[in-house]
Symmetry: C2
Subunit: 239 residues, 2 copies
DNA sequence: GAGTGGTCTAGACCACTAC
DNA sequence: TAGTGGTCTAGACCACTCC
């Protein structure tokens, strides 16, 4: 009746069941140990662990071990949520190091979406998003340079989140448009997010406006690791 | 400077470049051929092809070969689009076989979302979605039995799409609420979608109402294969 | 230095597809 | 029947982490 399952999938299911109620971060037995315990080759034990990694149930660290995954819910809807707010709400510890701040000439797409004239300049703000010191997000944001007097300086002063900066200037943030898809990252992005190869990642493109005036404030391209962030995209009211 | 790449990733990039402008469906060289051509073991050639499969660039068929992937864009936004409409728009051939029609007692979640009384019954409609004869979607829809006189019979009469049936009754369909996430399918769903193991699939939960009266018409749970469907989730106006 | 996951080899058998 | 991808073995070396 039931199709015969390959050994490594049976083993994966067994291990999955065993670790189901383990706390996040707990270390699993090593490949060699599992191979011995279940009388299979190391490669078969390894394939089982890789299957669990594919299901986002475990995280594997070179030279260290295999650990029960800690995943954070990331709900994207019409309400704008900052990185630190989102991570904290999930009970984890966020950090948001800035990788670079530059004033550049925007691409045509950025100019169109932000409603900027041909000669406009924008601030490019590149930040990483970390969950419990694990890299999970790479965000490239583009903002008009003239949002407020001395605006780029505010950013350079080590602001942790963008939302408070914009709020302090007097804007009320609103998600105007967003698009999410599973995409293959370019090699540079894959390196920044410390993923091997170029596995599919969430790409979320996001346009934020001021709720009062409708002015477009920010366009951002965010790459997210699905093994760390459980991204959910929602619209309408669930009520 | 650049970190040393493992052989199989270098090989994957080489092959990716080579097949970049190949037509969808074209067959690649076999694992053994590739191993010989690049002087690596079969397992290394295999790992390279698996990496390309992970990137959704190729499709692999047991006993047959490895083929350039044909992927269909599936844009989910506030406008309701039927399966066949969506697939046809992408230039592919849809089909939508019905796997089962039952009248059942709904779960509490279904009752809540459809605003049904405790004693209500719903029609459960299970359908597959195929793109060019490849299974890509499994849809479980739940509809109040009393949408119209003789409504369940209309379904049983081999209707291809649900939208025309509901439209012919006089409803104007509107996507009221939707949520999409990457999730691990239960074994039954994985089997129905013919995927090995239980790789992450798109789960789209969807509530459709009548635009005129606001009546809730349908709640559906759709599992989608990301290797066949390039799902994009959008809200707001891109304009 | 011991242990871990990452890569790679050579070889084998199997189930499946296509002819 | 020949060729393909899927699975599995035993063994090896490496880079990395942790102590």
């Amino acid at each position: 009746m039931t199709a015969a399952q390959p050994t490594y999938l049976v083993l994966a299911d067994q291990i999955a069941e065993e670790i189901a109620d383990w706390p996040p971060g707990k270390r699993l037995a090593s490949e060699v140990d599992l191979a011995e315990r279940y009388s299979v080759s190391r490669l078969t034990a390894r394939a089982a662990l890789q299957e669990l990694e594919r299901r986002y149930l475990v995280r594997r660290a070179k030279g260290s071990g295999t650990y029960v995954a800690e995943r954070v819910d990331y709900l994207i809807n019409s309400r704008f949520t900052s990185w630190s707010e989102m991570v904290r709400k999930a009970g984890a510890t966020p950090s948001r190091p800035t990788v670079g701040v530059n004033v550049i000439r925007p691409s045509e797409e950025i100019r169109d979406r932000l409603r900027l004239p041909a000669d406009a300049r924008v601030v490019e703000l590149v930040r990483l998003g970390l969950v419990n010191d694990v890299v999970a997000n790479l965000n490239r944001s583009y903002l008009p340079v003239d949002l407020a007097p001395g605006f780029p300086d505010l950013l350079a002063n080590g602001a942790i989140d963008l939302a408070p900066v914009l709020s302090s200037i007097g804007y009320r943030l609103k998600r105007l448009w967003a698009r999410a898809e599973l995409a293959t990252p370019d090699p540079e992005t894959a390196r920044a997010l410390q993923v091997e190869g170029r596995p599919p990642l969430w790409l979320v493109i996001n346009c934020v406006s001021d709720a009062t005036t409708g002015r477009r404030l920010q366009l951002s391209y965010a790459w997210n690791r699905p093994d760390v962030l459980h991204v959910q995209f929602e619209f309408g009211n669930p009520d």
